[in-house]
Amino acid sequence: MSAQGDCEFLVKRARELVPQDPYAAKAWLITARTLYPADFNIQYEMYSIERNAERTASAGRLLYDIFVNFPEQPVVWREIAVITAALRNDSQDKHAQFLKGVFETLPGPVQCKMLLKATEQCFNTLEKAEMLLLLLKRFPESVVQHGVSLGESLLEAETVENLDTPVNCFRKLFVCDVLPLILNNPNMCLPVSLLYKYMHKAAEFYICYVTREPSADAQIQGSQEVGGLKSPGRGRSQRYVIDGLSEKSSVVTEPWDRLLEMVGVVGSLCDWQGEKASRSYSELLQRVSELCRYMSATDSEGFSRCCAQIVTCCTLVLFHSAFHYVSAVQPSLFQGHTSLSSCPWVLLEDLSGVYTDVEVERKHTHKKRKLADGREKTMSSDDEDLLAKGRGRHIVVNKAEMPSWAETLEHFRTARESWDLLHSHQSLETEFAKICSLWKTEIWMWFRIFLTDMIIYQGQYRKALSSLGLMSSLQLQQNQNQNQNPLSGSSSLETQRAIIQQASCHYALGEYRMACEKLLEVVSGLMPQNHEAVKSSEEQRKPRSKTRRGNDLRLLPCTSKSILPFCLQLMLACFKLRAFTDNRDDLALGHVIVLLQYDWPQGENLFLKAVDKICQQGSFQYENFFNYVTNIDMLEEFAYLRTTEGGRVQLELLPNQGMLIKNPSPALGVELNTLLLPGAQKADRHHTVTRGITKGVKEDFRLAMERQVSRCGENLLTVLHRFCINEKIILVQSLP
């Protein structure tokens, strides 16, 4: 009989006894172990009994024994693989919990050895990393040895796998798990360059995580989140899964806070000047801008030493603030925000002064003209001195419509300041450009939106137009990448957002024809709302428009309700200048009158000025008058103009009249009239064509007036909307 035979006999007896008398089975094994302490099977059988009965403490004790005594047994390694797998995943399954418990009972050095050994057996980088991470988390002393190599292997894996986004499983592990261990370990001594590299990797991850695009199912989820504007980091992680990770481990809570913490740690490790672990991003900016001022005043050598610090901090503040600004302005871009809960906003020229200009013009006609001319000249190029003009511009917001307006504008301001600081010095700019190209910020749609708004704010409209061009090509590209974009329906207004901005920029540049062209493109996609609703909101901003005038900007909600009025005002602004020049331009004047109907009686003074002009001219020809002017005050004024008291002004407001006078060919007249008039006027056309030219005119005018008075109740916005669509060609052509 051999020792092996004895052992087999003992184990067999124990195994037989397990179901009926587990105590006896254990007694057999204890006896067997005292007989053959070096036999693996006896001890493994003991462990199996405890493990199968899920007795944590005794299983752990026995596992320890077999791990120490039989390190080469493949069975042991299989067991360890099972246990470490349970440690890695966050399963709440009872058996997994038990296995975790078993592991916890083991003494530290054994846990350490076990994890290292298990790591060696992993071939998958992610698994291996997770395993090493377990080790590093438990045993801080092992961070010194394995921390950096683990980090580097994760970064390398990211490169090898050629992943297109920094929000990937490797980076997540690196930034959220490995890096804090490395940075917080007091025994680590990393070179400063490596610290910056890691810091930038982390920042890129956090920023891209926060600004990630919504996933299809997150859209449904996000509709419940209202008020997400205040803290865009919160609650936005729901139902988002990073490829390769579980849903639970895909969650990154409070990314901006984490990033700020990391800046504090890295700052202290790099011995940053004046770094006292800032509690907010604005504090961070304040500190580096002070530093920047101080350093540039002293020596250039010191400045280059602080360069990395300034650029890093400034960049983070820039993206932090820019993100918050854009998440307020275009929330649907980001995961967790939806177009349902809040609409996009668009930054445009403030045109609330379009009606009040008339008084200024009356009093200072020369000055105004000079200004207007000057503007046309200078706006065509982005001169440096225009930057100065951009400073201190005011942005008008309807506070009722955007409750978080103050924060939003503050973020906009902070972001601009950071940008300015980053471009205040050549070396800073170079460093910043490096980061941007590394992070590929040029394809960050949301950042492009911020940049465009910033450029608009700076008054560099030409540059803004090219930025808007970039934006739309970016949008096109992204839509192609994800054909099933769930936003495609709701994004129509968002794509128009860029066009409206283009119109606004063209207007600011004095390119009225381009402005109008863009505008009319937008208007054709708008749905006219009930006029009354708009009026109330317009009245709210009246007091502001009186105190602040001229060069202001306005944040408008990107809705038909707000955009249509803006378009009308912008058109008015375009035609106004042309209408009131010394040269006679009845068409422009007529358009102005039509447009002045909106928001009546805001434009009363301007209308009176137009009337004055008509009186001076003694005649006025605008064939669309009866199609689009339904304002009773205006109708009354025009009726009066024809009377003797009114000055017997010769008004040619009926379509055929003008046509016949201008163009004697009746056939052509008919053609044109058909083009110009909607179907309702067809009967009149035949009537007027067959009548005598002058005799019946008076009668026709009276009839037209009467009919027009009955149209006063029509929805003005519908009328004006129709005006924009029907007269599109004429409108565009009548501008230079």
Partner: protein
């Protein structure tokens, strides 16, 4: 300090007593607490005074004197514990245990109520006596057996006192009783155990839960009680078969914390000389006897009751499981013992299981087996022999039993054949060890460093401190309770034997 305890009980006594009290106090002060031993003349005065009084107050008076004289003697002397004056012993025997001193003067006996009152007074006294040493001396002055006719009433009173202490959980008395159980001949210990079993197990079946709870209060007492009850119930008759309730309770205690079984052993100094015939130092052998004999004895019980119906056999199955559990615990305690012996460098130097006792057990088992042989009880015999073999093997391997395999073979020669027993007798097949170097006992490192060893080392004095492992502040992790591997290769018992078992 020592008499304040009694003072309160006497404050409402008659005047004469107050005078006595005053005299004693004055004397204490005058004599400057040096010579307090009352001379025999005074003692006889006291006796005469006592004879006139009713038995309860006389008994109290004696207790009072006992406290004064022993307490102050202990305070004044720095040497060994003061002995008891013969006259004092006589007073105690005459007035507390009511043994007549003279044939002509029959001491008045106490009524039952008075006896209960006296017990209450004793209970309270021991409870409130804050000095362990004084309490211990008074207890042994009262209850140490003197080999005279007073012993019977001593035992009677002790039984009642301990029973009462269990009922009302008077830990100091239980601790004293534990020491008493260690220093007294096992025959008396068995009698005390019998009284307690009658009170808590037999007479009132549900009273056992009271006893059960004592384990956390006085584990030392429980350890000794286990040894005593294993000596009491030896399976020699149906009456001497452990009651199931008792078995269940013991198994509960032991599985809760197996270290309980080693408590007396660990807290007893190595060089302390214990009187001949006292209980075993651990309950291990007694429990082992239970586990080995139980299958045979239950088989014997079952013979006449084979057709008796279901209830019996089910009870039998429940007990079988309990014995199996108990047996496992005993083996595990051997493994714990090994850790302790190794730490104390006592391996091979101290026989925790005396070979003679083991021999007796083997003898008993072989006799029982012979009796059963005509009956088809092979399974039960094999179970008993399996357990015996396991226990012998583990005890030898852990150093609890110092016995060479040769001697073991001689010892077990008359037992029926059993595979495991053969294997144990022949010992393991020696083969080149798979690991280089000798096999060392595997000390399991603690996760939390700096934690004291669970088994406290031998202290020079028998310490009556509560068992550290049972205090609620210390987490009971299984590590320490867990076995470690044996230092097998070095053990004298680990010798090769060419004969192999037949399977």
């Amino acid at each position: 300090m020592s008499f304040t305890g009694f003072r309160s009980y006497f404050c409402d006594e008659q005047r004469s007593h107050c005078q006595l009290w005053a005299i004693n106090v004055c004397r204490l002060i005058e004599a400057n607490v040096t010579s307090l031993i009352i001379n025999s003349e005074e003692m006889s005065d006291i006796r005469h005074a006592l004879l006139r009084r009713d038995p309860l107050s006389a008994a109290k008076e004696v207790l009072y004197h006992l406290d004064i004289s022993l307490g102050s003697a202990l305070q004044s002397s720095t040497g060994p514990t003061p002995g008891l004056e013969k006259s004092m012993v006589e007073l105690v025997e005459e007035f507390i245990f009511h043994v007549p001193k003279d044939r002509n003067i029959q001491p008045k006996r106490m009524s039952c109520v008075q006896e209960l009152q006296l017990l209450e007074i004793m209970c309270s006294y021991f409870q409130e006596q804050s000095k362990d040493a004084i309490r211990q001396i008074i207890f042994s002055a009262l209850f140490s057996l003197q080999g005279n006719k007073a012993d019977e009433s001593r035992m009677a009173m002790l039984g009642k006192l301990v029973s009462m202490a269990i009922a009302v959980c008077r830990v100091p008395i239980l601790e004293c009783a534990a020491v008493w159980l260690q220093r007294t001949h096992s025959a008396w210990c068995v009698r005390l155990a019998q009284v307690l079993m009658d009170d808590y197990c037999t007479l009132v079946p549900c009273a056992i839960s009271t006893l059960q709870n004592i384990c956390s209060a006085s584990p030392r007492f429980c350890c000794q009680l286990i040894t005593a009850v294993t000596a009491l119930y030896d399976f020699s008759s149906d009456e001497l078969t452990p009651p199931p309730a008792l078995l269940e309770m013991l198994v509960g205690w032991i599985t809760e914390d197996p270290r309980l079984l080693l408590l007396t052993f660990i807290n007893t100094p190595l060089n302390s000389s214990l009187p001949l015939g006292c209980l075993e130092i651990t309950p291990l052998l007694g429990l082992l006897r239970w586990c080995v004999k139980a299958p045979l004895a239950y088989q014997r019980c079952r013979k006449p009751a084979l057709t008796n119906g279901h209830g019996e056999s089910e009870k039998g199955t429940a007990s079988e499981e309990l014995y199996s559990k108990l047996h496992l615990s005993v083996l595990q305690v051997f493994l714990m013992l090994q850790v302790h012996l190794t730490e104390q460098n006592l391996i091979g130097r101290l026989a925790v299981l005396p070979v003679e006792s083991v021999a007796t057990l083997v003898e008993e088992v072989s006799r029982l087996c012979e009796k059963l042989t005509p009956f088809p009880a092979a399974n039960h015999i094999q179970l008993a022999l399996d357990r015996l073999a396991q226990a012998l093997q583990v005890a030898m391997a852990t150093g609890a039993l110092l016995c060479a395999r040769e001697d073991l073979r001689a010892l077990c020669s008359r037992l029926p054949h059993n595979n495991l027993l053969q294997l144990v007798m022949s010992g393991p097949v020696v083969q080149p060890p798979p690991h280089s170097g000798p096999f060392q006992p595997n000390m399991y490192p603690h996760i939390h460093p700096g934690r004291p060893s669970s088994l406290s080392p031998h202290s020079p004095h028998p310490v009556l401190s509560p068992h550290p492992a049972l205090s609620p502040h210390r987490p009971l992790t299984a590590h320490t309770a867990h076995p470690s591997l044996s230092p097998h290769a070095f053990h004298p018992a680990a010798m090769a034997f060419p004969y192999r078992p037949i399977r």
